[in-house]
């Protein structure tokens, strides 16, 4: 996944062609040479078709969501939808700002907690663990990714929230903090495993050189290894972040599902995903409410795409400086 030296991994296009071109042929119309060329061509076509299929699906989803979503604005002004916090569809108020801000806050808070912890886990796994422990820990982390999010949500509801209630002294501890703790636990394995791969892929000569210059282990890790693995770690963070933004089932169980701006970390609130999943099945099709939910889905997608683009740009700039 982490491509440190792209040039060695992908053979140049011309090499493939020439090797086939040199293959001895019998001269018949369907000899080994022709067969090879055709199977090569077909394989290439299949790959291209698969790749474009994915793009096509994404494009279709985008277009459909946007097309259904914009119907909202036949009844609701852009201003109200994006800049009002009054979400009360039963009385024709469609202000989605609460959910947009909630999503951004939740993702931000999650990343704030998840990134340091998971990078430390990754460093520990890649740099400091004895091999036998590493061989145990890596599969364990991989398994954590596979636990369904409902399970995380249920544990959050039955264990985390009563605990938060005790320490905060609130009557109801549902809210951004509970949701971001659950999300942090969910994205930890994703970010730490991919970062771990990135750190392990840093060539040992970098470390040797650093030690030769007299640095200690901490300095080697923070000044040499982490910067060298930077793009891989960034990649891990993007994946973790998109999971955090889009995660629904776990969040809906611990966030409280109340359409109000959170005044504290323990105020029940709602985010785009939780609001969509709570309401979309109960709402009349082809109603403004339904269109509004589609629009919120589109906004969610737009936010993730925007974040991915921003991180990619940051990453590029970083690479140039190194």
């Amino acid at each position: 996944m982490i491509d440190m030296n792209p040039s060695t991994n992908s053979p140049a296009q011309t090499e493939l062609g020439t090797s086939i071109g040199k293959a001895p042929g019998s001269g018949k119309w369907f000899d080994r040479k022709t067969r090879l060329r055709w199977s090569n061509k077909i394989f290439r076509m299949v790959c291209i078709a698969s790749a474009s299929f994915v793009c096509l699906v994404l494009l279709c989803i985008l277009i459909l969501m946007l097309r259904t979503g914009v119907l909202t604005f036949a009844d609701v002004s852009l201003n109200e939808f994006f800049f009002s916090t009054n979400w009360d569809p039963e009385n024709e108020h469609y202000g989605a700002l609460t959910f947009i801000l909630g999503t951004l806050a939740l993702t931000g808070l999650t990343m704030l907690m998840a990134i340091p912890i998971s990078v430390i886990i990754a460093v520990f796994l890649a740099e400091m663990t004895p091999i036998w422990l590493r061989q145990v820990l890596r599969p364990v982390l991989d398994l954590l990714v596979g636990i369904p999010s409902v399970v995380y949500g249920f544990l959050g509801l039955t264990i985390l929230i009563p605990w938060l209630r005790d320490i905060s002294g609130r009557d109801l501890a549902d809210g951004l903090l509970a949701a971001s703790i659950v999300l942090t636990i969910m994205v930890l394995p994703t970010i730490s495993r991919i970062s771990d791969d990135a750190i392990s892929a840093v060539p040992n000569k970098y470390r040797d050189a650093a030690y030769a210059l007299g640095t200690n282990r901490f300095q080697t890790v923070t000044r040499v290894v982490l910067p060298a693995a930077r793009s891989g770690i960034m990649y891990a963070i993007i994946l973790g972040m998109t999971r955090a933004i889009g995660e629904t089932m776990a969040v809906v169980m611990v966030i409280g599902n109340t359409a109000q701006l959170a005044s504290s970390l323990f105020t029940p609130t709602a985010v785009l995903t939780s609001n969509i999943v709570m309401q979309i099945s109960s709402v009349e099709f082809d109603s403004t409410w339904n269109h509004g939910l589609y629009m919120m889905g589109f906004i969610l997608l737009a936010i993730s795409i925007l974040m991915i683009v921003i991180v990619r740009l940051l990453q590029k700039r970083g690479d140039r400086n190194v």
Binding site: L157, L172, V252, Q260, I280, S282
Partner: protein, 287 residues
Amino acid sequence: MKKWIKPFTAMLMAVSLIGGLGGATTASAAKSTEKGKIVINGSSALLPLTLQAASEFKKDNPKVKISASAAGSITGPQSVRKGIADIGAVDWDASKDVPGFKKFDGMVANPVAVTVFTAVVNTNVGVSSLTTKQLQDIFSGKVTNWKDVGGANANIVVVNRKFGSGTRVNFQQKALDGKDFMSKGDNYKEVGSSGDMKTTIETTPNAIGYIDLPYVTSKMKAVSINGVAPTEKNVLNKTYKVWGIGYYMTKGQPTGATKAFIDYIQSSKFQNGSLKKLKFIPLAAVK
């Protein structure tokens, strides 16, 4: 796209799913020639009944596959209208207009059971009876402390069902006399299904919510309304008012396996047997 997004969310939110593995019994046990697939969606209050009926029905009709899920009452008739479910379980008669929801044209409401709804509180709450007025005040957010309604000095946590829930419609109409719910506040949250309501009330001190009787467990307390306890006896002697009839909505008159299943659930064998055991009340009893 709209066609698949709804069953997908419904699946996610399903309290429980039963797979179509009805053919497990031996071939000689086949007492019926009915075959086909019945998809049921809708009310989570009726889900325990549907699941029980489905497992019994499949014993007699091994060739019928039944899958049931619940994402709230209004999803029932909506899924039927969109053709993704054969039966839409709903806690009110969806072939007529009710406050907040328009009627579904061309659908037939098949009554299946009487559901009793009750206000429930966490076991730590000292209050065991509330008046209609007190319930209205609590659920509208006017009263926020248990001491104002005869309990200990503690903040009230109000748990509400989301819009589209049949339990919510019935509770609002019959326990709150149509008064509105609150929709904001530090001690207010909404949950998606009866199962979520059960978990939340069980685990949240000072919480009040409402649910139908089959979901009431020993970890929560059912509250008497105006001094009348929510029991079958009190419904039958007409002192307890918070109950409703659950319906299976079908597109037109039911046919084939769907009809056989509805007939089974309406049969006196099921009505007086398993249905009663699950704390629903047979239809015949209230008529």
